[in-house]
Structure formats: structure tokens, C-alpha cells
Amino acid sequence: MDGYQYNWDVVWQSLPELRQGLIITLQVSIVGMALAVVFGLLCAIGRLSQYGYLRKISIVIIDFSRSIPLFVLLFWVYYGLSLKFSINLTAFQAGAIALGITGGAYMAEVFRGGINAVDFGQREAALAIGLTQAKAFNLVVFPQAIRIIIPQAVNVYVGLLKGATIVSVIGVADMIYVAQYVSLNSFTPFEMYSAVGVAFIALTVSIAGLAYLLEMRLNRGRSRG
């Protein structure tokens, strides 16, 4: 279809702002991830607890957090919660919290899966030499679980990174926000969104590559005896 003049200059001109937006995206996703790790760890501990009622509550919390769309959760936190309980959250904070909750549900399963993957006999042997439950976990089970947990945690992070694009809707000045207002003024949505898309793909591929290297290093000389 001739007649459309691709205007890639706009992209080059907006690079500084796009870079700023990228930084904000990274910030909100990293904070969200940190919250997710904490929330996920708590849920995982509850999920693996010996107390039935604690397990059940944890399962409910995890399932709820996993089933609600991030977008709905975001609005619920930013508009709903703050209005109902008169808490003043910035858009960034609301975004990080929503990411933390959703990510936390996935991290809970990642923690649980990693811990369960460690052979049951390892725990038996650790207890048999007289270690307490806590020491058995810290010194024997968890070090082995971490090898499985880290690559999957990176996957969760990538998911959060992509999910974080939503926060532009409540006003966080991330890459998409920048792309939106630039394309509005210069009629170049195709170029701008393509650029943002490429940026994300590059980001995702690099992180995946790093995770692969990390996995290789973790597995070096340490496979199961």
C-alpha cells in the first residue's frame, strides 16, 4: 500500500523519553518482583505448613491472586481500595502492589515446586544426623531447591515485565505512555509501537539468555549425586 510515509525519525527523536520510560518500566517491575518474592515466600510457607487450616488459607489466597486479571487488580487497588479506605497511593505504588500480588501467586508455586523437587530422602538424611527441622531445611533442602527456583523466578519476572505495561493506563510514565503521547501528536503509532515492541522483545530475549547462562553455571558440577 503506497502512500504511507514511514516516519522513523520520530522514534529517534523520542529516544531520550523512551529511555526514561524504559527505566520506569524496569523500576516498577523490579519493585513488583521484590514484593512478589516476599508475598510468594509467605504463601509457600503457608502452603507447605503442617497445619491444615494454614494450608487451606494459603491455597485460597494463591488461587485468588492467580485468577484475577492484573488489570482488574490494578484498578481495584488504585481506585477501589484507596477510595474505600482513604489510602493515598501513587500510581507507581499501586502498580507495584498489583504486580507483587499477581507475581506472588506464581512465585508461591515456584517456591513450592522447587522445594518439592528436592528428593525426600535428603530431608530424611538431614534429620537422621540430628539436624533440627529448620537447619535441615536451610542447610540441605533449600540450597538444592534454589537451583530449580531461580530459572523459574526469572520467567515470573519476565511475565511481570510484560504485565507492567498496563500501568501506563493509570498514569505511570513508562515506555507505552511515552509512545502513546508521541504518536498522538505526530500520527506515528505504527512506528512508535513497533519500536516499543522491539524494545520489549530485545529485553525479553536478553533476560532469557542471561537466565540460560545462569542455569548453566548453577548446574555446573553440582548435579544430583
Partner: protein
Amino acid sequence: MNTTLLQLKNVGKRFGDHVVLSEINLEIAKGEVVCVIGPSGSGKSTLLRCINFIAPPEEGEVIFEGRSWKRFHSALNFIANRKYEAQLPKLRAEIGMVFQHFNVFPHMSAIENVMLGLTKVRGKNRNEAREIAERSLRQVGLGDKLDQYPEKLSGGQKQRVAIARALALNPKVMLFDEVTSALDPELVTGILDEMRRLASDGMTMVVVTHEMNFAFQVATRIVFMDAGRIVTIGTPDEIRNTTEPRARAFLSSILG
């Protein structure tokens, strides 16, 4: 009579609705080697795990060195249960256990495997622990493999690490759970010889095994189990000539 070191009184264990052990009564004197034999699923491995409370029995008690260990069941005994649970590591430090699938810690070298109990359970400092661990590993013939990681060791070597790990804590009793079943045939004799050496050094041992020759040669008493119960106990000669039908059937199918 020798002093009784370990006694199981009316021990019972179930997993959910499935009863694995019932009415287990057994007295073991110091220096005895008790071999437990029986068909698969008879509860032999679970019996061992009840002794050091890795699988706490629902019923009965375990009396070790004069002290009774039992688990309380109603929710009212919540506090009592928490208290005895906190004491369990002390019990387990006095009882050594070697597993069928070795369970050596893959993220630590051989010597670190042995040192773990010494530093974290006995509270020794690293130098002392290292000395003791080294000695322990030399005794099982692994003096040249101290810093190797388990993935580089053969099955027999891993099992030796496991034995050294247990022995380093100077236990009063050693539990062996079919420790040669997962080994290649040519490595089995090596481990059995280690166990013979331990027995002749006077270690009290409870050995679950399928190695009948070993059992009849080394045991002071043999326990035959079936379907979660002890069917008959006796010296090797008594068992060899037993008239108990299930034991008879089992022995003839194994020994021919």
C-alpha cells in the same frame, strides 16, 4: 544379660488409613546385631524410621538409654508434642542411619557431608570437625576422595560417605535400611565388609536387608516381619530351623 539399649514397646504406625506397623515389641541389647528380614511391604523400613522418629509412631513408645519417647495424639497434647519434637534432634544424634538410596548431600563435598553433623549438631569448630571427618572417611577407605563431590563418586563410594557421615557422630546404635539394594553387585561385598567390621567392633546395629548370607553369618538375632508385624524372632540357628509357616515359606523361596 547385657544391658538393653533400645526397646520398642507396642509400636504402631499408619499412613492415613493404611496401617503399616502394629504391636511391634522388640528389645535390643548393647552390642547386638539384629537383622530384620521379610517380604516387601512388611514394614521393615518403616520400623527403622520409627526408631529414630523420622516417621514417628502413632502408638507405643521407644525407650532409648532408659528414656521413653512417645507421641501424643489428641490436640490437647499440642504443647507436649511441641516439646518432645524439639528434643528429637538429640535422640537422632545418638542414632546413626544409612539409607538405601544413600541420600548424600549433592551440594557438598564428601568431607563437607561428614562435617555437617559435627559442626551443626555436635557444635564442634571447623578444624576439629575436619579432623574427625577425615578420620572417619579414611576408616571407610575414602581418604583420597575427601574433596570430591558425590556426582563423581560411585554408588559404593557414596554409600561409604553415608556410613562415615553417620559414624562420625559416634552413635550408640546404627540403623541400616537395605543399604546394598541399590548397589551394583560387585560393590555390595565392599559395603557388607564395612558392616562386618563395625559389628566385630561391638557396634549395636539394626539391619534391614535382603542379603541372607550376611544376615545369618553376622546377626546375633534375626527378626522376621510380615504385613506390619513381627512374626518370629530368634538366633540364626533358631530361624533357620523355624516351623513358623510364613517364615518357612519366605526362607525357602529366598534360600531355596
